[in-house]
Amino acid sequence: MSKRFSKMGWIVLAALLCLSLVLMPGCTTSPAEQEEEEEEPGGPAIPYKNDGIFVAMTIGDIASLDPAWGYDTASGEQTDYIYETLIWWDGESADQFVNVLADDWELLPDGVTYRFHIRDGVKFHEGGDLSPEDVEYSFERAMIQDRDGGPLWMFYVPLLGVGGYGDVTFADIDAAVEVDGEWVVFTLDDGAFAAPWLQILCGPWASIVDMEWCITNEEWDGTEGDAPNHNNPERQDSYLFDHSNGTGHWKLNLWDPAIQIKLEKFDGYWGGAVPFDWVITQIVDEWTDRKLALLNGDADHVYVPRQYIDELEGIADLTIYKGLPQLNLDGFFFNQDISEVSTYVGSGTLDGNGIPRDFFTDLDVRKGFCYAFEYDTYLEDILKNEGEQMGSPIIDGLAHYNPDALMYEYDLAKAEEHLKAAWGGEVWEKGFKFTLVYNTGNDARKSGSEILANNLFAINPKFQVSVLATQWSSTLAQIVSGVYPMFNIGWMADYPDPDNFATPFLHSEEGLFAHYLSYYNAEVDDLIMQGRYELDPTARKAIYYELQDLAYEDPACIYLFQPQGRRYFTKYIKGFYFNTMIPGNPGPLHDMSKSES
């Protein structure tokens, strides 16, 4: 008997042991608190590490190092370090410029001819000298590559007034950019819109590459015959995909895909001293790892997702920049012509178990929805107050933004009133059911959707909106096929011009969203066209102000917030300034520095 007891005893003991092991972390909070007492208020001191090396930790790998290919911020960030453009943003300004590879430029009175004088004595990383031919080649090569979904429409539209490579002959491209002695001449398509050509020239896609080097490496050889072979290539088929030869401050040392990119100081840089010997960008997907790296001084800058900003409050050794306006805008889009194959509309009729395909054509429905969204909660809980509500796609930071434009506020009474009016009152008594879609993994969009769903339910229990997450891939495909009744998605600026926002949101033909959601408003359409080609600022302002009112009156979506960004550096990094158009996180590295003091 005693034998059995001891056995039992052992088992229980062993079990307890394991349990305690498992629970140990849970119980050890108390020593942690003691530690806290020892903590100085400013949090732990961050040691100074890696002198002369700038270490950034961010998420998401770059798509390609080829400036003509990249359209994502991650790629743009790196190409901006490696390559240079003719002109660049002047400090924080979005419409003042400084000369870079051009030491002088002019816009001829005809309003369509831009002339840039190319700086000499500029060397490429591989040793070549910068010549006007290089510039011409860079632009023409880019336009010839013009890959699907690439940024090159930004050249085609202003220069040739067409969408892309398919719509022009080689001669057109050749003529668009010409060398004139020391100068390079761009002739814009006459009647081209007041498209901010100079701003486009600051983008990564306008980086200057070395013609000789490209040609020796089987890139486009500059002839018409070779052009088709280099149009719309596979990412990896471009030699510049993983090789680079720019004039920038840093040259590529190592690209270890999905792990890190190491740039090395370019000693032959024309502009003199280069602040960092190394610029290392590591891809660290886990927030915890990035945070630890920052606090341990292993990283000088990390990407801090909005939901974690509280964790880095009150740490003395960090330099934090907040409330930096970003040129993008989220919205809940109404699909006014839902595809009949849609499985997201319940019964497909207005019988309380679904919605008809044209449900959102009714203005009252849309307005009701707009009033039913809890903007303040969204701002506080989800955006952590990092955002500014917008009433239209013309957002702050774009020209002709109207700060006191009308916008909807959270008002259940008004919402109720509109929804009662909708569909001759049918909506109110029958109620509706449909599915609201957002793309998996985007917490903000999920929460936003839930807020809306809950509020509608609060107004009338017959209003039943279920929230569904779909993967990015299917999201896009489904938007195109028009099966989503309503979805939450956003838009980001290519260049800071109202047209770049107005069109996608509102233009029934050219606008991506508007088009696929069958949003149509004749007035809006031709206001957009007018605005695009209007050169006189005051007139333009008037147009866009009117457009903003119309956008409010006939909402294409529930306009949400223009979010604000943030930057976190250790105190050893100096000289950061924010320009909304500089892609990527760390910002203008060449103007920044790292020192212990």
Binding site: K7, W10, I11, L13, A14, A15, L17, C18, V22, M24, P25, T28, K49, N50, I53, V55, D61, I62, A63, S64, Y71, D148, G149, E234, R235, Q236, D242, N253, L254, P257, A258, I259, Q260, K262, I280, V284, D285, E286, T288, D289, L292, L295, N296, D298, Q471, W472, S473, S474, T475, L476, A477, I479, V480, S481, I489, W491, M492, P504, L512, Y516
Partner: protein, 348 residues
């Protein structure tokens, strides 16, 4: 000669299996609508308009057989496609990420097998005594532990509580500079081995520091698995008549257990080392994901969540081939260890 013909026969038998494997995994991906697969090439809403062009370009709306034909054709010509996650061909990606995983495996595998066998036979030798119950309970706990959770706990303690003592990742910045510098020759890209070959102490230490937690996480569950198996097969062979004979001969218990019992008990353990491979393959996915340790498992996970079909296909195929190969080797090993088994019977 007999062995060779056996291997050849087995390899021939593999062909239909592998063929089926390819059809199967390719079939899965075809569950996607062309539109969906097209939008995998797309990164932003801007490119919505291009979807049809992409479908057209990659023939995504072709009938199954056509697409399979093209794909298998490429595969046979050694081209597994392009991995978006790794920004390189899938085949290169495999070799790009494998070394990191091997870094883990060369520590985990021996640890698992040795501790597992040792604990298992000790427990069996003390059947129904406290030691046995103790080890058993621990084993069952280990066996029931969710790997990912164990990882989190370890990180919670070592990242948070003893900050900076055991860092995440694979190498610290400074050591990474060394490793990628010209005077450090990367023979194998397996850092531990390279560090030794380069006689570079700091790198070795740094690598080990980064390895400890993942290795522990990876091992616990599998140790429990092997130990449990070893215990029961050890018990079985300890109950056998020849053990009594050995004792009756007057052999010391040490010899009885270590020579007569264990040799027999090892046989089933050998046969499951094939499963151990699978266990490791599964384990690294979770472990590397948790510790953000960029090996082949992490890559597989990324491909899965980011729907990088080519990578998923390639990885699955790679694993299948490897796995089948391992099992073949195991069978052969088996026939070597157990004189009773003739080649061929081993297949069952």
């Amino acid at each position: 000669m007999e062995l060779r013909s056996y291997i050849i026969r087995r390899l021939v038998l593999l062909i239909p299996v592998l063929f089926g494997v390819t059809v199967f995994i390719f079939g899965i991906t075809m569950l996607f609508s062309p539109g969906q697969r097209a939008s995998l090439y797309v990164t932003s809403p801007r490119q919505l308009a291009d979807l049809p062009a992409i479908i057209e370009r990659y023939g995504l709306d072709e009938p199954f057989l056509t697409q399979y034909g093209t794909w298998i054709g490429q595969v046979l010509s050694g081209n597994l496609g392009w991995s978006n996650v790794a920004s390189m061909p899938v085949w290169d990606a495999i070799w790009h990420y494998l070394p990191a995983t091997l870094d883990l495996a060369i520590f985990a595998a021996p640890l698992i097998i040795l501790t597992g066998i040792f604990l298992g036979s000790t427990a069996a030798a003390h059947k129904d005594r406290p030691l046995d119950h103790g080890t058993r309970v621990v084993a069952i706990f280990g066996w029931s532990l969710p790997t990912f959770w164990l990882g989190l706990l370890l990180m919670m303690v070592f990242y948070g509580y003893f900050r900076g003592f055991l860092p995440p990742g694979r190498l610290s910045i400074q050591m990474d500079m060394v490793v990628n510098s010209a005077d450090f020759i990367r023979y194998t890209h397996i850092n531990t081995i390279d560090a030794i070959l380069n006689l570079n102490g700091p790198v070795l230490l740094d690598t080990l520091r980064h390895l400890i937690l993942p290795v522990i996480t990876l091992s616990v569950v599998n140790v429990a698995f092997i130990m449990r198996l070893m215990r029961s097969s050890m018990l079985e062979s300890l109950g056998k008549g020849y053990i009594l004979t050995a004792r009756a001969k007057g052999l010391p218990e040490r010899v009885v257990v270590n020579k007569h019992a264990r040799r027999n008990a090892l046989i089933p353990v050998i046969t499951v080392s094939g499963y151990l491979f699978a266990a490791l393959a599964n384990g690294v996915v979770i472990t590397e994901t948790i510790f953000n340790y960029k090996g082949i498992g992490w890559w597989a996970w990324q491909s899965a969540v980011r729907l990088d079909i080519a990578s998923i296909l390639g990885f699955a195929l790679f694993n299948a081939v490897l796995f089948v190969g391992v099992n073949l080797v195991v069978d052969i090993l088996y026939t070597r260890i157990d004189p009773r088994v003739r080649l061929g019977e081993a297949v069952q």
